[in-house]
Amino acid sequence: MPVKTESFYLNVGPQHPSTHGVFRLRLTLDGEVVVDVEPIVGYLHRGIEKLAETRTYTQIIPLTDRLDYLASMTDNVAYCLAVEKLAGIKVPERAEYIRIIISELMRISSHMMAVGFYLNDCGAFFTPVLYMWREREKILDLFDMLCGQRLLYNYMRVGGVSQDLPDDFLPALKKFVDEMPKYIGEYNQLIKDNEIFLARSKGVGILPKETAVNIGASGPVLRASGVKWDLRKMDPYSIYDRFDFDVPIGEVGDCYDRYWVRVLEMMQSLRIIEQAMKQMPQEGPVIADVPQFFRPPKGETYGYIEAPKGNLGFYIVSDGSIAPYRLHIFPPTLINITALKDMMVGWKVADMIIIFGSMDVVLGEIDR
C-alpha cells in the first residue's frame, strides 16, 4: 500500500544561481520528485519590440545587441539580413566573409558558455566554466580589437560591417584557430569520459524526435534529438553554401547529446573559419552605400539565421517610413522550452536543474 503523500509548491525563482538569469520555475514537488513544472517568464521584459517602432533602422541595431547578450553579434547579423532582404541591399564580398568569421567565433563563445554553465549545474562548480572562460577571453580580445567592446558590439550595419578588420586581427585569429582544437581536446579529456558526468547526464531529460519537431525546437536542442535541420545547410543564407562542414546530430536527445552536439559544433565552426580566412578577398569595400535614414519599400519580410541557440528570426513590416511599422523577434530559446514539462516530470530536483541547464536559455532573448 503506497504511502499517501502531499505535494508542495517551490519557486525556483527569478534570483537563483542556476536559472541562467531571471527565469522562474514554479515546481510542484512530491518529496524530491518533480510533479508539475510551470515556467514563468517576463522578469526581463524590456519591451524591445515597442521601442523598435520608434527608432530608425540603424538605431535598432544596439537594441538587437541586448537580445541574446551571449551571442550579440549573431543577433545583429540576423537583423541586418532581414532588413537587407526587405530593402534588397547587396552586401559586398569582404563584408560577407567578415560576418561569417564573426558569427562562427560567436557560436564558439556561446557554446562554450552553454557547456561551461551546464557543467556548473552538474555540480562541477565553476571549474569547467573558468577553463572555457580562458578561451572566451581570447575571443573577447579579438572582438575588443575589432570594435572596442567586450560584450555588446554594435559592429554590424545594414549593408555590411561598420569598419574594416584591423591588420593584426587576422594573425591573432590564425593563432586562435590553430590552438583551439587543442583546448577543445583538453575539455573533452576533462569532461567527456568522467563517469559521474556520464551517469548524471546520460538518459536524463529526453526530448524525443517527434516532440522536438512538434514544439518547433531549433538549434542544438533539435539536432540533439536526431533531426538533421541546420539552416546553414537546409536554407543557406549569405554565403554559407561556399563552405563544407557537417552537421552533428545526437541519437536520443538527452542532456549528454545536447552537450556533445555543442562540442562537435565548436569543431565545425573552426573548420568554417579556416576556410573563410583562406577565401576572403584581401581588400574591397566593407559596407554598401546605404543612406543613414534609408526608407525600405513598403512590405514585410522574415529574415532568419542559424544563431548559436536556434533559428533566430526577425519579422519586419515596413510602411515606407524610416522606422519599422512592426518588428517581431522570434526567440528560439523560448520555443525550445515548450516541452520543459514533459522532460522534467518524474525526475528529481537535482536532475531538473541539469535538464534546464542543458536547454541553454538566455533571458534577454526569451523576454525581449
Binding site: V41, G42, H45, G47, E49, K50, T211, V213, N214, I215, G216, S218, V227, W229, M234, D235, P236, E300, Y302, Y304, N311, G313, Y315, V317, Y325, R326, H328, F330, L334, I335, T338, A339, D367, R368
Partner: protein, 144 residues
C-alpha cells in the same frame, strides 16, 4: 534551399480541400478565414506534411489585427506564410493552433499578452511577459 511555395496554386489546393477558407492569396502568403483556421492547420500538418511551425507573429494594422504563421515542411524543405485576420477591435479572437502545432503555445500566449487577441482552445491562456494587473495591451498602436 527552403523554397517559398507560390501562394496561388497552394491556395487552390486548400480551397477544394477546405471549402470557403481561403480569403485571398498572393505570391508568398495565403490569407485564411479566421473560423476555418483549425481545419486548414490540420490539413497542412497531416496531408501536406507541414509539420514544423517556426514563427507566429501578431500585427496591429489599426483597422484589423493580423496573425502570421510561417509553416515549414521538413521533408520537402518548403515554407509558406499563413495569415488570419480579425476585424473587431474590442475583443479580437482566433482559434488556437496549439492542438495542431505545440510550437504556438508560448507565442500565442505572448500575442494575447501584448496584443490582446484571445485564442480559443489554447490550453493555458494567461499573460506571459507582463504581470497580472497590467491594464492595456502595449503593442497595440493606440497604447500610450
Amino acid at each position: 534551399m527552403t523554397t517559398a511555395l507560390n501562394g496561388e496554386e497552394l491556395a487552390k489546393k486548400i480551397a477544394e480541400a477546405v471549402p470557403g477558407s481561403v480569403v485571398s492569396s498572393d505570391k508568398s502568403s495565403i490569407i485564411i478565414d479566421g473560423k476555418s483556421l483549425l481545419q486548414v492547420a490540420e490539413h497542412f500538418k497531416n496531408k501536406l506534411g507541414f509539420d514544423y511551425l517556426t514563427a507566429v507573429t501578431g500585427v496591429d494594422y489599426i483597422d484589423y489585427f493580423e496573425v502570421v504563421y510561417r509553416v515549414v515542411s521538413m521533408q520537402h524543405n518548403q515554407s509558406i506564410f499563413l495569415k488570419a485576420r480579425c476585424y473587431t477591435r474590442e475583443d479580437p479572437a482566433l482559434p488556437s493552433v496549439t492542438p495542431v502545432w505545440r510550437a504556438a503555445y508560448y507565442q500565442e500566449r505572448e500575442i494575447y499578452d501584448l496584443l490582446g487577441i484571445k485564442f480559443e482552445g489554447h490550453p493555458y491562456l494567461k499573460r506571459l511577459l507582463l504581470w497580472e494587473g497590467f491594464n492595456g495591451y502595449p503593442l497595440r498602436r493606440d497604447y500610450l
